[in-house]
């Protein structure tokens, strides 16, 4: 049984490949073959994307720092109370990068070694954009160049990063739309959604047909009273049947219906996931006992269970909170990044152990970077920021996009060192979608409708 009904999947597919309407009436599989997607159905390759969302707006200026010379002095002068000491920065030497030498935040030892080994790359000054925009256009308030609504607001920038549509309200996110396109091709027999979250409800995995599935760091949890061998509801199997009906029967009423849909998914999916996990190769890597560590451990287990789940494509969402560094930026970021780095290191090791490192690409995201300007003990909301992408498929030890000059009044300074992004989420997403197997231009534009407004929106940034 496909998670998305075949009918819905087919309708979606035909909408996306609208030019194929002439083929209506031919078998669905033949349609796929005609556009060269037969390989998807016949193949056996496996790929997964893992989104690690850092809630609060990770500070970019202390994440990757110019570590020598005048560039470091400019950085230190810009934020004297927040600057990281030169000696503690972790040196990186990206291929092809000719700017001032860079250092990584001291808490990121694993990321340093992943970059050095060519497994991880940096996305520099990435952010939400409706169009490319220059400093002059920003300062001039050029009404022809729109900027995302409510810049610098947490909730709005989170939504826009995740929908990939900062110029409009959208009921879906770009990983969800990626799931809409790929699930019918790669996971036609899976009983579990292609989009799985261990980090709670999110926008990025919401699709037209794709409904994200929530799982806990311990796996799927069962309604105890419905579990065989537990004796039913207070010792009554008839009671358990009643309970099942109340949880899963479709209802009248907008919210009653939504509640029942969730209840039905929970009951229907739990057994598939639990059984699949139980029969999957064990994940032996030791993960840190942090929230983000436990979430990524669960991702690793679901990856290990991919065959049992009948999934050749998987999209995961995990999250870490606490990045809103208005206060105590130095200590708090050190703690957050330390937890993150340890968890990412364990996850990378687990992917090696499971022999899927080239099939799994992991990236960080955060609603915005922060102002370079300090407010005493922290810094305030910004716009563009740096993100990491890693995995065996990544062309690593490189910087993609343009690394900004860390100072005030630069061509990317929207004020107080809030970065005007030079690479858009659209370009980033297109790169990942193409790697994931989507090459059709209409499908790519369904996933990221604004992509062709940006220079690398057609073919992506080439980091995988």
């Amino acid at each position: 049984m496909a998670y998305v009904s075949r009918h819905a999947a087919r309708r979606r597919f035909l909408q996306q490949f609208g030019s194929l309407s002439a083929l209506a009436g031919t078998p669905f599989a033949a349609n796929l073959a005609t556009i060269g997607a037969a390989s998807a159905q016949a193949g056996s390759d496996y790929k997964a994307l893992v989104c690690v969302f850092l809630f609060g707006g990770n500070d970019h200026a202390n994440l990757i720092v110019p570590r020598t010379g005048q560039a470091y002095t400019d950085y230190m002068n810009a934020r004297p109370t927040l600057a990281i000491s030169q000696a503690s920065l972790r040196s990186i030497s990206p291929t092809g990068y000719t700017g001032a030498p860079l250092g990584l935040h001291p808490a990121m030892a694993n990321m340093q070694s992943m970059i050095a080994s060519g497994r991880a790359a940096v996305l520099a000054n990435l952010g939400t954009l409706t169009n490319p925009i220059t400093l002059a256009q920003w300062n001039g308030g050029d009404s022809l160049v729109e900027v995302p609504a409510q810049l610098f607001s947490h909730s709005d920038q989170q939504a826009q990063w995740q929908t990939g549509l900062p110029d409009r309200s959208s009921p879906t996110g770009w990983l969800g739309r990626l799931g809409d396109v790929t699930a019918p091709l790669y996971n036609p027999n899976s009983g579990v959604s292609i989009c799985m979250s261990i980090g709670g409800n999110n926008m990025i995995q919401a699709g037209e047909d794709t409904i994200q599935y929530q799982i806990t760091p311990q796996g799927a949890i069962a309604v105890n009273a419905l579990t065989l061998g537990n004796g039913g509801l207070y010792g009554s199997t008839a009671g358990a049947q009643a309970l099942r009906r109340l949880l899963t029967d479709s209802r009248a009423g907008m919210m009653e219906r939504e509640w029942s849909k969730i209840g039905k998914r929970a009951v229907d999916t739990e057994n598939i996931v639990t059984t699949s996990l139980a029969n999957a190769p064990a994940v032996t890597t030791v993960f840190p006992a942090t929230s983000i560590g436990r979430q990524l451990q669960m991702v690793a287990r679901m990856i290990s269970a991919r065959t049992n789940l009948s999934q050749r494509r998987q999209v995961f969402f995990v999250q870490q909170g606490g990045y809103d560094f208005h206060d105590d930026l130095v200590a708090d970021q050190n703690a957050r990044l330390g937890e993150l780095d340890a968890a990412l290191g364990a996850f990378n090791a687990a992917m090696n152990t499971l022999n899927v490192s080239s099939s799994v690409t992991t990236f960080t995201a955060s609603e915005f970077g922060r102002a370079l300007r300090h407010n005493g003990r922290g810094s305030d909301h910004g716009w563009g920021g740096h993100q990491f992408v890693f995995g065996g498929a990544v062309q690593g030890n490189r910087i993609y996009g343009s690394f900004p000059t860390i100072a005030f009044n630069t061509p990317t300074d929207a004020g107080n060192g809030r970065l005007i992004p030079t690479t858009s989420v659209d370009e980033f997403g297109v790169t990942l979608a193409r790697w994931f197997g989507v090459t059709d231009t209409n499908a790519l534009s369904t996933i990221l409708p604004n992509r062709l407004r940006f220079p690398n929106g057609a073919n992506g940034l080439g980091f995988v």
Binding site: L151, T172, I211, P217, G235, E258, G321, R377
Partner: protein, 672 residues
């Protein structure tokens, strides 16, 4: 002949089969004008007379035995009773209703009359299914529904008291007035200072409530047992607008910090919004949480600018929101039809300067010296005070006003004046009424209030009738007494209502069944694990954006129709399952253990255990104000009857089953 006879036999059978469906009083349809079961010979006859123009007694109610309120009920439903959609309730509609009540369906039901929009029986039946005007609620149910909106959950004693008073608008208004004058058990501060409930020094457990546990205990004690239920419920709503949290927070274990904040919300629940806004702004717990505590003025030498955190969130979350609003809560549009932002980054930069120079207050207050600003101590109990050396003296421009630059060394009074000017400006912004009113409606009544409802409440915010702006009593009364909150017809509106949030579901159970710890200590320290508990805990929101955003809608059907359903932000496969497991366990075993066990009292139901139908009716009224559908009642009834009276512990198991299935029914979970 034979053929015709069998047809009428079939009709007769259909009639007989239809009748049992009418015997369940709680069935939404059809057409009862009072608390009784609808029938053709009472309600149907009454409506036919009404359609023919008769009014008053005895013309209308002669021999129908309907309650005296039937005429008013009929009058309030004329629009819905226009079954054929010709714009008026007339004898065609009354005829269809009579036939429907007699069990006729399909072609024998008959179609619409002159100018009807719904000509065919199929269309009429579909309309009835959609817009079924249910029976009138009983007084008990009206009271229970009101208490569901206004308290942490109905109890039979509260319901009975309201029924005694008539369970009508007069009674509810009087209850609200009495609640405005009901004091809390004690300040939360005192519980935390004592490290236990009143009397802990001499009881067997002792005063052992350390760190944040004490705040959690006093929170639940007052929410569950406080006589000031309206205050408790509104204070909790305010805590979800003016969010401080122990998660990702500089105030994570300080029980007194959070106790003081809870006291502040309780104190201001029935005060004036302007005072509330200032008390929130000056509260040291908020000061630490949103980092304007010891926020310093700008310093050109180091390039430092004031922290913008509070300036941004006080506008976005606590007062005016992101978009210019009409009085009805809809967004204003510019000439090109676009939404209009309420502020931009420059407003934030300007306003951030206002929230500088604040640090500890106390009683008596520390001298406002620079040393004390930087290093001094104080108390969580008192508002932050201004330390002029830390307060920005440059011009502060925001929301269309400028506080002029001040020269030289300024006084504390000057710094206070900056803050007062800014808070006055925010308070008087035309957005505050609709912005705050809509959020309170969403917390208490429904996720999708009509613009007219928002407007009626916002108008009370703007002017309580005595030319006072921000009168929270007037606002709360308007939220609860609005026709949209009280209208029984809203029970049949498919998008009306809200998902009860997890802690309110649990609270409803504790109150309904007098589940209280013998020790007086509610050791409900943490409910937030989404896999093992409820995925929500007071004072443990993951960020200042609360557990859910007021405008959140789950992707899919609700989002696609541009409705909102905030509580669904924490509702997913994990939390629905965990809630089920949590309640099934708690209903049987209580919460916690030893002296602190929060154990339910099911005596009322154990006494009724041989009469499952009565037990269900009682629970239906108490927990779901009579809204369990016929089908749900049947499901519960079957489950209870499946536990035979010969089985082990059958009495208790029947009660657990009835309570659990009621609390897992969508009719309970979605508050209407």
């Amino acid at each position: 002949m034979f053929f015709r006879a069998s047809l009428s036999l079939a009709k007769g059978l259909a009639l007989l089969l239809a009748l049992p469906c009418l015997t369940f009083a709680q069935s939404g349809c059809p057409f009862s004008l009072d608390a009784g079961t609808a029938s053709a010979t009472t309600d149907g006859l009454y409506l036919m007379r009404y359609a023919l123009g008769q009014r008053g007694s005895p013309a209308l109610d002669n021999a129908t035995s309907l309650a005296s309120t039937a005429e008013a009920t009929a009058a309030s439903r004329l629009r819905r009773f226009d079954l054929d959609g010709n714009g008026v309730f007339d004898h065609d509609d009354a005829r269809i209703i009579q036939r429907y009540l007699l069990g006729f369906r399909g072609s024998s039901l008959g179609g619409g009359g002159a100018y009807a929009a719904r000509l065919t029986p199929a269309l009429i039946e579909a309309y009835i299914a959609q817009n079924c005007p249910g029976r009138a609620m009983t007084a008990q149910e009206r009271a229970a529904r009101f208490l569901t909106q206004a308290t942490w959950g109905p109890t039979w004693s509260e319901i009975d008291a309201l029924v005694q008073a008539g369970a009508n608008d007069t009674a509810f208004n009087a209850w609200i007035t009495a609640q405005f004058n009901t004091a809390s058990i004690e300040p939360h501060w005192d519980y935390v200072a004592r490290k236990g409930p009143i009397g802990c020094a001499t009881d067997t457990v002792g005063c052992d409530s350390n760190f944040i546990n004490g705040t959690m205990e006093t929170f639940w004690l007052q929410a569950m047992q406080g006589p000031d239920q309206l205050r408790q419920r509104v204070a909790f709503a305010l805590q979800q607008i003016f969010v401080v949290s122990t998660v990702n927070s500089g105030v994570d274990i300080q029980a007194d910090a959070h106790a003081s904040f809870l006291d502040m919300t309780a104190r201001n629940a029935f005060g004036n919004f302007r005072t509330l806004l200032e008390d929130v702004t000056r509260h040291p717990t908020m000061g630490i949480y949103l980092s304007h505590f010891r926020n310093e003025k700008e310093d050109p030498a180091t390039g430092r600018t004031p922290d913008e955190n509070y300036a941004r969130e006080v506008l976005q979350l606590f007062s005016i929101g992101l978009w210019e609003l009409n009085i009805d809560g809809t967004r204003k549009k510019d000439l090109s039809g676009k939404d209009i932002p309420t502020y931009n980054q420059n407003d934030i930069i300007g306003l951030a300067k206002v929230f500088t120079g604040l640090a500890w207050g106390d009683d008596p207050s520390p001298a406002p010296t620079d040393d004390n600003f930087r290093w001094g101590g104080g108390s969580w109990k008192y508002p932050m005070q201004m330390y002029p050396s830390g307060h920005s003296t440059s011009a502060k421009t925001f929301l269309g006003i400028t506080i002029p630059a001040m020269s030289g060394t300024i006084t504390q009074a000057q710094a206070n004046q900056s803050l007062a000017t800014a808070l006055d400006r925010i308070f008087n912004h035309s957005n505050v009424g609709p912005f705050i009113s809509k959020q309170l409606i969403k917390r208490l009544v429904t996720s999708n209030p009509s613009p007219a409802y928002v407007q009626r409440v916002a108008e009370k915010f703007n002017n309580n009738g005595s030319n006072i702006r921000g009168d929270m009593k007037a606002v709360i009364r308007a939220v609860l007494m609005d026709p949209e909150a009280r209208d029984e017809q809203k029970l049949a509106d498919e998008s009306f209502g809200k998902l009860r949030e997890p802690v309110l579901r649990f609270g409803a159970w504790m109150r309904a069944f007098t589940a209280r710890p013998a020790s007086g200590r509610y050791r409900i320290w943490n409910l937030e694990d989404p896999a093992d508990a409820l995925g929500q805990n007071p004072m443990r929101s993951p960020s200042v954006f609360n557990f859910y955003r007021p405008e959140y809608a789950p992707p899919g059907a609700i989002l696609n129709r541009r409705a909102s359903a905030p509580e669904f932000q924490i509702t997913h496969e994990t939390t629905t399952t965990a809630y089920t497991n949590f309640m099934l366990s708690v209903i049987e075993r209580g919460y916690g253990g030893n002296n602190d066990e929060i154990a339910p009292n099911y005596a009322r139901y154990l006494a009724n255990v041989s009469n499952p139908t009565a037990m269900i009716a009682d629970l239906n009224a108490l927990l779901a104000y009579g809204q369990l559908t016929t089908q749900t009642q049947q499901i519960i009834l079957d489950a209870i009857n499946a536990i035979a009276t010969t089985e082990f512990n059958w009495q208790a198991r029947r009660v657990y089953t009835a309570v659990a299935l009621t609390m897992l029914a969508p009719e309970f979970l979605i508050q209407r």
